[in-house]
Symmetry: C2
Subunit: 405 residues, 2 copies
């Protein structure tokens, strides 16, 4: 039996709710999606927490995302599978900001996470809760980074992990999955094909599907990025947050988090505008946004060297678009060449080495400033979702003089 | 004019001292080494700090290494060039510990630093202080990681950086140095040859030499790893700390830090035993230790795939050996094959992906336990000096089934 922890001492998780039909589901058994087909999200006893957990109580807690444990779904402390992910740096990038026409630009450096990407957050939360609820073999379709993160946390938890990803995934990702003894299947195709493979395996072999939004708790890990930005800004929020966007679920997760923070009374006033940057070769959100729609079309022939941005259709696209509309956000697209130039600019001006996905934010911000969508005096946070170390092929091999010997 | 900050409000740096002849030098001008040829180290007004800075005052500070700013050499807050390096995770690796015969093994995960290695600490401190004191072009010989870190922090500070390293340095390191616009020279040879090249350039072009211990402040950044371990263990220390060891300066730096902590009254009792793990193909400290000597011989034909361990002779070797002897530490060697197996073991059991240097600690610990040098009930910290993401060639490319399409 799992005891419901008291607010202030453990998870305040109350129930799961379908984001479409609002039906309520038991949070204390393994769940995938609602019978109606839509994702489930976790709901907490926020009113109770508001009374008993002042935000100042967090100040003494360890510097990782489990400092928000009342707002995370794991019941028992000893269920937490952690490598101290999260509470990543948020710092000024003044020279890059000036080059982009901004007076105050901050970088949230998710490359500091285990495995070098923000995917560690969803994996830590998802693995912890899946194991707590009795899953023994988890499976996901991925472009690479999420699969690698689940392989890592799966190894640490001692749970079997099945990963399916496009055959052109990063080599380092394949090596880490192998090192962590994940069961890997490569598909000739896109992440959507990888997801199809997992769905079939779920039916045939009883794997527990942990692909994006096919279970409720990865989202909960991702949302902590919003808690952290608010706390790191002393419980204020920036004017704009800019995301590299493939599936876009980080945007939906952070919107959920800001709603929770407001309900807790920890923040007040306007939300940050949530802005998505997509690759020109795969921009279903940009098209939907241009057309004022609340869902997206499948992007046929999706193509970009930034693997994580190559998501032809996001399960949960409506949640992402809702978050963008609700916050008066926007969507912008950039070319692969602009991404490469963005990586160079961040390295040259700030010594920061971004992965291609995060590199997309650099030209994205420039376009938003040029078009007046972001004002030059606004406080802007760019999400550096991953570490450039993972993508050796994204930058050309330099030629340097060889001396002596 | 640089004002001497009051203890408790800024750096308590007092002077520089030669580690050999004890001569005192001015800390507020650019200095390399003592006229006697030996390294200079920073000394602080610890007695004053002891009276006015309780260790509990740190609890509210930001989670990076600048939380120890009174004990770091940078005078002005606005001189600090930081990407929020340090205060890296320290966490249990229980399954790896059990496999190595230990009841309590912790990993200090330095891979979370900017650039993925502990070298960020020395670079942040060194760049900050060099720029504060007026350096405009800094230069260093390196096996790669330190050069990359200086290139990154140099770019962020807007200071020119010259890096010389062996021609077989990691490709990713070369790409990052190029991205950060460092001036790079490759040498056919070892880090010692790279250092010779820099020394000549220093004389010819007036570069400021920031190679290991050729300036006093990189050491100060590295020492913060010891502060953090003590603080993260609630101001106690482990029984043993195990280091992958090339130049070994982290050992000397952490020994200095533990001495400072004792003088401050922040820790008491015995120091941790500081243990070095070297590669069989380059083990000058192991030889010196075996022979009971206080300095090391140049290791001709030094060879290991763990680049950072390939230091044929460390400038400051006597400081490293002194720290090992003073703490009743030890030195052990491991083969390249054992290192590869160690990387696999950490990934499989804990989901942790170590760089080759850090991977060396895994078989090192096993040997130390087998030989009774570490007791199975002792608290052991292994230094995970860097992220495996940086070394794609260190692990073989797996073959996975290709499905569908």
């Amino acid at each position: 039996m799992i005891e419901h922890a008291k607010p202030g001492t453990g998870s305040a998780l109350d129930h799961l709710e379908c984001v479409k039909c609002q039906r309520i589901h038991d949070a204390d058994k393994l769940q995938n999606v609602c019978p109606c087909g839509a994702p489930l999200v976790a709901r907490y006893r926020l009113a109770q927490l508001r009374d008993c957990l002042p935000r100042a109580a967090l100040a003494h807690r360890p510097s990782n995302m489990w400092r928000y444990r009342e707002l995370l779904p794991v019941r028992r402390t000893d269920s937490i599978v952690s490598m101290q992910e999260g509470y990543t740096p948020l710092y000024d990038v003044p020279r890059l900001g000036a080059a982009l026409g901004l007076g105050h630009l901050l970088l949230k450096d998710e490359g500091a996470n285990p495995g070098g990407t923000f995917k560690a957050r969803g994996a830590a939360t998802g693995v912890s809760r899946a194991v707590e609820l009795g899953a023994t073999k988890v499976a996901l379709g991925t472009n690479g980074n999420a699969g690698e993160a689940w392989a890592m946390y799966g190894a640490r938890a001692g749970v079997e992990t099945v990963v399916s990803m496009p055959v052109d995934a990063q080599q380092m990702t394949l090596k880490i999955c192998a090192g962590c003894r994940a069961e890997v299947y490569l598909v000739r195709g896109l992440i959507s094909d990888a997801g199809d493979f997992i769905r079939r395996g779920t039916q045939e072999h009883g794997w527990f599907d942990v692909s994006t939004l096919k279970e409720p708790y990865r989202l909960e890990g991702k949302k902590t990025m919003a808690y952290e930005i608010a706390e790191q800004l002393d419980w204020s929020v920036p004017d704009v947050i800019v995301f590299p966007t493939g599936g876009g679920i980080a945007i939906a997760a952070m919107y959920k988090a800001f709603c929770e923070l407001r309900e807790l009374g920890w923040i007040s006033g306007s939300f940050p505008r949530l802005v998505a940057v997509q690759a020109e070769g795969c921009a279903p959100f940009a098209k939907a946004f241009r057309e004022g729609r609340r869902d997206s079309d499948f992007c046929h022939g999706a193509s970009t060297f930034a693997n994580g941005l190559r998501v032809p259709k996001s399960f949960g696209d409506f949640m992402v678009l809702d978050a963008i509309y609700a916050t008066k956000g926007s969507v912008v697209t950039v070319s692969d060449d602009e991404i490469r130039a963005g990586i160079s600019q961040a390295a040259e001006l700030e010594g920061v080495f971004l992965c291609p996905e995060a590199g997309a934010v650099v030209p994205g911000v420039r376009k938003l400033v040029d078009r007046g969508i972001i004002g030059s005096d606004e406080l802007v946070v760019m999400m550096g979702t991953g570490n450039g170390l993972k993508y050796p092929d994204a930058v050309p091999m330099p030629e340097f003089p060889i001396v002596g010997g």
